[in-house]
């Protein structure tokens, strides 16, 4: 709905003054809260638990929002209030302008079918249904014809790489595979928002990493809006576009991973982020430099050599008319071309250039350095050259934040090409 004010400002879900009291006297508990009593005091006075208090935030369209906090901080309660698996005690929640908190049972059901899918910590697959029948569930209860819903469910299973397992039963699969089915069940429903409650917390660390990468990939590809819950800061920093930090049912800080790390709102957050491996958080954008002015395919080898000498570099990027990265030139090849017949640059360039998006975490760049001697190009979504990352710059960036780089191998000393001032340069 383009005339909807909420979708225009990119907000999908808006949460206002949300509170939840578990117990018999929510009004009394909230009144005590308003008098300034904290969770423990309210529990002592009334026997009721203040699960959430005065929560305000937005979920923006297409973002992966992480809600993070220690066990008992109210994360599960919060995510279940969004689709009203748990009834809020006060406050408003709206999705694309429709107020969820006011819906009757029938409208709520329709809203859940259209807008929400959910992935659970312990997978919550239906044990008596095959993998395919699990993936179909959301479509089946909407009354979609069998052939059509099976096709969609198979599509979803294909996305998570489990197509061949469609006839298996959940208990025949490993934990990681089961959660992929959980993911497929959510994807098949084609909901606008995916709610994930500690979806990867029950998985082995290695599988967990893979799933995180896969989720980020899926989210980019499908433009999903995801609310992801975790108690694990590393996970939050790894996948979150934004992070909401929850403590005792209240929001402590909202921000991007970098903001949370570099500008903690208070001592609690500071303690929380202590000991974080910075290379996981900082992105290619933070470490990239302005590349030496690239040449285009129409330029001559002579011009390219002149640029290289000017910039004091041994490699040079080649771009097309719209600054899209076409390849890279090596000094040796260019010198030989100048001495000989001087063919066009198109025959000289190496097209296989290591490249990353600006938001790629730095720790993904280390293995690329191991394989290649080239620097890594940073390109935007359209493939336009935005910067370059050399190994030394990565280390310098990490050093600047005051952290040691966790290197997969001993790091050879390598002087930065130019100062570490070029962070965030576009061109």
């Amino acid at each position: 709905m383009s005339d909807d004010p909420q979708s225009q400002d990119g907000v999908r879900i808006r949460v206002r003054k949300l509170s939840k009291v578990f117990g018999k006297h929510p009004d009394r508990a909230l009144a005590l809260r308003d008098q300034g009593l904290d969770r423990a005091a309210i529990l002592e006075r009334t026997g009721d638990t203040l699960g959430l208090s005065n929560i305000d935030f937005e979920v923006r369209s297409g973002e992966l929002l992480v809600i993070m906090g220690l066990s008992g901080s109210g994360k599960s309660t919060l995510i279940r209030c969004l689709n009203r698996l748990i009834e809020p005690s006060e406050g408003e929640i709206s999705i694309e302008g429709d107020e969820i908190t006011r819906m009757d049972a029938k409208r709520l059901r329709e809203c859940r079918r259209r807008h929400f899918s959910m992935v659970f910590q312990h997978f919550a697959l239906f044990p008596h249904r095959s993998v395919l029948a699990n993936a179909e569930y959301a479509l089946e209860i909407r009354g979609m014809p069998k052939a059509q819903r099976q096709e969609k469910a198979l599509d979803a299973l294909r996305r998570v790489g489990l197509e061949e397992w469609k006839d298996a039963y959940p208990r025949q699969l490993s934990g990681g595979m089961q959660q992929r089915v959980g993911l497929a069940r959510a994807l098949a429903s084609d909901s606008s928002v995916m709610l994930m409650d500690e979806a990867f917390s029950a998985l082995d660390p290695l599988i967990r990493r893979d799933m995180q990468q896969e989720l980020v990939g899926l989210q980019r590809e499908l433009d999903k809006t995801i609310v992801f819950i975790t108690h694990d800061l590393d996970e939050a920093l790894n996948i979150g576009d934004r992070i909401i930090l929850l403590k005792d049912g209240e929001i402590v800080q909202v921000g991007t991973p970098e903001e949370i790390l570099t500008r903690p709102a208070n001592a609690y957050v500071e303690r929380f982020v202590e000991g974080v491996d910075m290379s996981r958080v900082l992105t290619a954008q933070a470490a990239m430099r302005r590349p030496v002015a690239p040449v285009t395919l129409d330029d001559t080898p002579g011009e390219a050599l002149a640029r290289m000498d000017e910039g004091g570099v041994d490699t040079l990027y080649v771009v097309d008319d719209e600054r899209r990265l076409a390849g890279i030139l090596e000094r040796g090849a260019v010198v030989r071309a100048c001495a000989g017949e001087a063919p066009s640059l198109a025959t000289l360039i190496e097209r296989e250039v290591p490249r990353v998006l600006p938001e790629e975490p730095l720790h993904h760049l280390f293995p690329m350095f191991n394989k290649r001697s080239y620097p890594i190009a940073v390109v935007d979504g359209e493939g336009r050259l935005r910067g370059v990352v050399v190994r030394g710059a990565v280390l310098a960036q990490l050093a600047e934040v005051g952290r040691e780089a966790p290197s997969p191998e001993p790091v050879p000393s390598l002087a930065p090409l130019d100062g570490p001032s070029a962070t965030g340069v576009s061109s």
Partner: protein, 279 residues
């Protein structure tokens, strides 16, 4: 000692029963006719099959559901019953058990589902079930007679009341045992209550429900024997007449037939439950 007047509890109950029989006997008599015709048609149907054919069919069924051991046991046990001349009373008892169990299940399932879904209803129903189960079984026979007369229908009425509680309890238990996360998943994708019940809760509760049905069948069988006291035909009647004529041998023969029937019914339903659980 102070002379406390005796509370006329029994009098009240009788007055209540009199009122009910006075006003509703046309209903109960209609039920009685209907049930009686069902019992006799089932009975006639089972008796129309020659015993050897019935033994083969039951043995095959046991073999398919459970395994060859139960099949062999069925052949030996049922042949013994036939040989002792107890085939007809055994079939009569079996008809009573089958009909009473069906009625009990038809009533118990919805009640069990409601008890699982509503805490309030659960709080009301559970004490009633305790009452129904601990009341000595004979007592149900007495009010059955004014409603349904002497014979099989009263026996079924008393049997249904006596044997229903486990089916209700286990149905409620089975549904309540469905993990919260699974129920949440069904809700989160927008299931209606009925969809959640039919697509998730009942299928997952099925093994537990079957365990309840197994107990219901066993209770029904024990009650069907007792029901001979109010004129129901079958193995119970054989035992009863053996007692009156002081014939311990005949009494034991009928008793052994009951045991064989009980073991067959138990093993068959157990095996069905196992198959459900293994899916």
């Amino acid at each position: 000692m102070i002379d406390v007047p005796r509370i006329p509890l029994g009098g009240w109950i009788e007055a209540g029963l009199d009122f009910l029989t006075g006003h509703y006997s046309h209903v109960t008599r209609a039920i009685s006719r209907f049930t009686r015709s069902n019992i006799s048609s089932l009975n006639d149907l089972l008796m129309a099959v020659p015993p050897w054919a019935m033994i083969v069919v039951i043995a095959l069924l046991c073999w398919r559901i459970s395994g060859y051991r139960l099949g062999v046991f069925a052949i030996l046990g049922l042949s013994l019953i036939w040989n002792l001349g107890l085939w007809q009373p055994t079939i009569q008892s079996l008809s009573l058990v089958v009909i009473a169990t069906l009625v009990a299940i038809i009533i118990a399932l919805p009640i069990g589902v409601l008890a699982a879904l509503s805490d309030g209803f659960n709080r009301v129903v559970m004490p009633i079930l305790d009452f129904m189960q601990t009341m000595p079984a004979f007592v149900y026979l007495i009010p059955a007679i004014p409603f349904f007369g002497i014979g099989a229908v009263s026996a079924i009425f008393a049997t249904v009341i006596f044997s229903m509680p486990p089916a209700i309890r286990f149905t409620a238990l089975g549904i309540r045992q469905v993990p919260t996360e699974l129920a949440e998943a069904a809700d989160a994708f927008g299931s209606t209550r009925m969809q959640k019940l039919l697509k998730l809760q009942l299928p997952l509760a099925l093994p537990t429900v079957m365990a309840g049905i197994n107990q219901t069948i066993m209770l029904a069988l024990s009650m069907v024997v007792i029901a001979a006291m109010i004129g129901a035909n079958g193995l119970g009647a054989e035992v009863w007449s053996a007692i009156q004529r002081l014939q311990p041998g005949a009494g034991f023969e009928a008793g052994i037939a009951v045991v064989i029937l009980a073991m067959l019914l138990d093993r068959i339903t157990q095996a069905m439950k196992g198959r459900e659980a293994a899916r």
